[in-house]
């Protein structure tokens, strides 16, 4: 039983790292622009495709990774310049809807490019040997991808924190996130700050995309939809205000997701005699094993509850007065 639980926790830590890489990027952009960039998930998808095609073309892994990150950053910067900059200052919903449109363009563009390249809709991802297989730690079996996800996440996010707190660009981002007009008056170059935020977010999304594709073993143009929703939920849990918040939210979400799966198995796991047979039957009836598939619904319900009662995240904090 504890073995099972530990295994779940390990999976959660790995999933949490992926969510964190994405949530941080989302939170970064939101904090400065008040834009929820739903195309963020599609950046992950694009990264997966770039990596796959680079590897198919025979590039060694480091070169493929660089191509992937570079290409994704370019897409992210273009996205900002073409679709978001012209509507900066528009109502929130307009920007949200635009991000959906951008996502549609990326998805359909990838679909088209895939087809033109003679590929099927869903492509098997060439997971590098490094990430395949498992590693044994004590009585636990950890998949290599999980371990790498966790370590990569930790390293990148630490680097990012250092950058944001120590560098002038990072300081400008903080200022822009807190009070954009005031930051402007200091002489902060807003366009440059926004572009940098998009660049960083895209790079993080690229790494997340690579890890996600490695885990899933396949890529398709629509793979970005669920991750971005999860990333958004993570960011909301964390309060949408800070990097650390987004990270905490991400791991919290990953742990939260264990609950339906764990609950689902409870009726089976409980040792006989622990509860009365009648209660046992009741549990088995109410919590079918397929509860795990309710996971997404459960997570969203949680999101709605959070938005209602704790819009500033688990950590609470100052109520930010909504603009009328």
């Amino acid at each position: 039983m504890t073995q099972y639980a530990l295994q779940q926790v390990v999976n959660a830590l790995s999933a949490g790292s992926l969510y964190a890489l994405m949530a941080v990027g989302l939170a970064l952009i939101f904090s400065i622009l008040r834009l929820i960039n739903f195309a963020h998930g599609d950046l992950m998808m694009v990264a997966g495709y770039l990596a796959a095609f680079s590897l198919f073309a025979g590039l060694p892994l480091p070169a493929a990774l660089l191509t992937m990150i570079g290409g994704t950053v370019v897409v992210g910067l273009l996205m900002e310049r073409i679709a978001y900059r012209p509507i900066r200052g528009a109502p929130d919903v307009a920007m949200l809807l635009t991000s959906f449109a951008v996502g549609q363009i990326l998805q359909n563009g990838t679909l088209l490019a895939s087809r033109l390249g003679g590929q099927p809709v869903q492509i098997a991802f060439p997971t590098p040997g490094l990430l395949q297989g498992v590693v044994s730690v004590g009585s636990l079996t950890l998949s290599k991808v999980n371990v790498v996800s966790f370590v990569t996440g930790a390293v990148l996010l630490s680097l990012l924190t250092v950058f944001v707190t120590r560098s002038r660009l990072g300081l400008s981002m903080h200022a822009a996130a807190e009070d954009l007009p005031a930051a402007q008056l200091m002489g902060v170059q807003v366009n440059r700050v926004v572009a940098s935020a998009f660049g960083i977010a895209s790079a993080l999304a690229a790494v997340a995309g690579f890890l996600y594709a490695s885990q899933a073993g396949q890529i398709n143009p629509y793979l970005g939809f669920t991750p971005v929703l999860k990333a958004f939920i993570a960011a909301v849990i964390g309060g949408f205000g800070s990097i650390s918040g987004a990270v905490i939210g991400a791991y919290a979400l990953a742990l939260l997701e264990i609950i339906p799966t764990a609950l689902a198995g409870i009726a089976d796991i409980l040792p006989p005699g622990a509860v009365s047979p009648a209660f046992h039957d009741l549990l088995a009836q109410l919590l079918p094993s397929s509860l795990a598939s309710f996971r997404d619904a459960f997570v969203f319900l949680f999101l709605i509850l959070m938005l209602l009662f704790r819009p500033n995240g688990i950590l609470g904090g100052r109520a930010r007065e909504e603009a009328p």
């Binding site: 200022a175 009070d179 005031a182 930051a183 402007q184 008056l185 002489g187």
Partner: protein, 233 residues
């Protein structure tokens, strides 16, 4: 040094500035006074590039800067301390100051911080504190200090006495006087007409988006219209 010529600014369909022209000479302290909604802050924001005028020109040291971006205007030596202070509450005092000097080379930042904390010694004690924990008066000092970090040649101050206790207001105006003594050109918007006219060389009175009166501060102080509307005689 600064010339505004026939500025017109619209907020949607509402005309906020209706042909504003004014001048600030080098080394002068010019006050812009008027009631709420007259357009004083709008004028300042237009100078700083936060708002685009639909008509008119702004000239600084002979060059037209009407459609320059804010960061370029700061680079030219104009610094704007906004109404309501707008310090970054979640950042420390030191970080606020660094942001004020964001356009200066890294090496000049520490000496810059030293220089402004000399003018505002209270801030030196609080360098590591979060901006949001400072009192109203201290925040105003921080805002001015922050504006000074970019070593401006023209300082724009928007309602520095807003919401401050009388003792604090005195202090702030002492500082403003001191800065003027150092040769800094200042454009001051103020509700506290008394203090403003005391410290200014010249002044403009704005009403409904236009300049209604102008002249040397000493004269305006005794102008019956100013006395009635703003000085409460």
């Amino acid at each position: 040094m600064l010339e505004l010529d026939d500025l017109h600014v619209y907020y949607g369909n509402i005309r906020a500035l209706d042909g504003v022209s004014l001048r600030v000479g080098s080394g002068e302290l010019v006050a812009l006074i008027g009631s709420n909604g007259a357009g004083k802050s709008t004028t300042l924001k237009t100078i700083s590039g936060l708002i685009r005028p639909s008509q008119g020109t702004i000239r600084y040291e002979g060059n037209e800067i009407t459609r320059h971006s804010t960061d370029r205007i700061v680079g030219l030596g104009i610094s704007h301390c906004p109404e309501g202070r707008h310090i970054f509450g979640r950042l420390t005092v030191r970080e606020n100051l660094i942001l004020g000097g964001i356009q200066r080379p890294a090496a000049e930042l520490e000496p810059g911080i030293d220089a402004v904390t000399e003018i505002f010694p209270r801030l030196r004690e609080r360098l590591g504190q979060a901006g949001g924990t400072l009192s109203g008066g201290e925040q105003q000092m921080l805002a001015i200090a922050r504006a000074l970090m970019s070593e401006p040649r023209l300082l724009i101050l928007d309602e520095p006495s807003l919401g401050l206790a009388p003792l604090m207001v005195e202090r702030i105006f002492e500082v403003i006087d001191r800065l003027k003594g150092k040769g800094l050109t200042i454009l001051l918007v103020e509700q506290n007409v008394h203090q403003a006219l005391d410290v200014a060389d010249r002044a403009y009175v704005m009403e409904a988006g236009r300049i209604a009166l102008e002249g040397p501060a000493a004269e305006l102080r005794h102008d019956p219209r100013v006395e009635r509307s703003y000085l409460g005689h």
